[in-house]
Symmetry: C2
Subunit: 181 residues, 2 copies
């Protein structure tokens, strides 16, 4: 069976989670099953509604994979500091992801905002590296979020840094339904 | 009606077209209609198969948008130089996109690999700027491809440069079904 690789999408630009969902879509269209674990995040996002469409019923031709999404967060840290409940959520999430990765039921596993969970000290990089190392070899892994630690740069097979050159936030544009979330 | 913005995803890293399809997925899940015009490309890709799923039938709850994909290419220029037929294809494609953008039937229009078409001289930047300027104001535009010209940086509201830090191509890994195409 083909080896799966580790993708790392980091940097301060828009497009990291977006690219992870784009890759999920590509894989689903190829009949592969995808699990997305979202660290830190707790809100409902439009992209996670795709779960209802990639539910295993698909359309007669072609046959699509299944999408499973779970959130392991209690909201972001723009205006508050992480507390023990955030740590517990992230650790439970990592345990869930460890099962997905080791059992190999999903062909692609997205660890969305894992870098943020690491950056804020919710998770230990050593435990994350153990989880990645113990995956079934064919599983493709996509890790997103700003502030990726050097240890993930080292183990990743593909690293893209999304650099923000310009953003409409600076024009005072708020996050928009169906475009930004 | 809300103003639509111009996104530019450029740079040499993996994730540009992928992010465009991720944004398309997000928009489709929010019930918005999306058109994707692919310049230069002529092959079938897994992600374009999503068209069969977002065909307007959707599932009862929630209701998804429609996806329309067209290709305006005759293949890439890794081992050949563009010829007049490539120019004609790209120009016909731009005319198609001009209709989508001006009539406003689609809420999001992706101009995939437009930058490559410009880089290889298949299209004139002045004509592209005219097409962008004449769009119905609410339409969101996503432009992808390496080598974006400065004129597009100038008119874009959001620019993300995808920088390749590491790629598994360097390990001799070829493009894989459902992951890279």
């Amino acid at each position: 069976m083909e080896r799966g690789y580790i993708h790392l999408y980091t940097g301060n630009g828009k497009g990291k989670t977006t690219a992870a969902f784009g890759l999920a879509l590509r894989a689903l269209c190829a009949g592969r099953d995808v699990a997305v674990g979202q660290f830190v995040k707790s809100m409902s996002y439009n992209e996670t509604r795709a779960e209802a469409l990639f539910d295993g019923r698909g359309t007669p031709v072609p046959s699509f994979g299944r999408l499973h999404v779970e959130q392991f967060g209690r909201g972001c840290f723009l205006d508050r500091r992480p507390d023990p409940a955030d740590v517990a959520c992230a650790r439970d999430g990592l345990a869930r992801c460890a099962v997905w990765l080791s059992e190999g039921k999903y062909d692609v596993v997205v660890l969305d905002e894992l870098n943020i969970a690491l950056h804020f000290g919710l998770l230990d990089i050593g435990e994350v590296l153990d989880v990645l190392a113990s995956r079934t070899p064919h599983v493709e892994v996509v890790i997103t979020g700003r502030y990726a630690p050097q240890e993930l740069y080292a183990v990743a097979d593909l690293v893209t840094e999304m650099h923000e050159v310009k953003h409409y936030y600076s024009q005072g544009v708020l996050s928009r339904d169906g475009i930004d979330h």
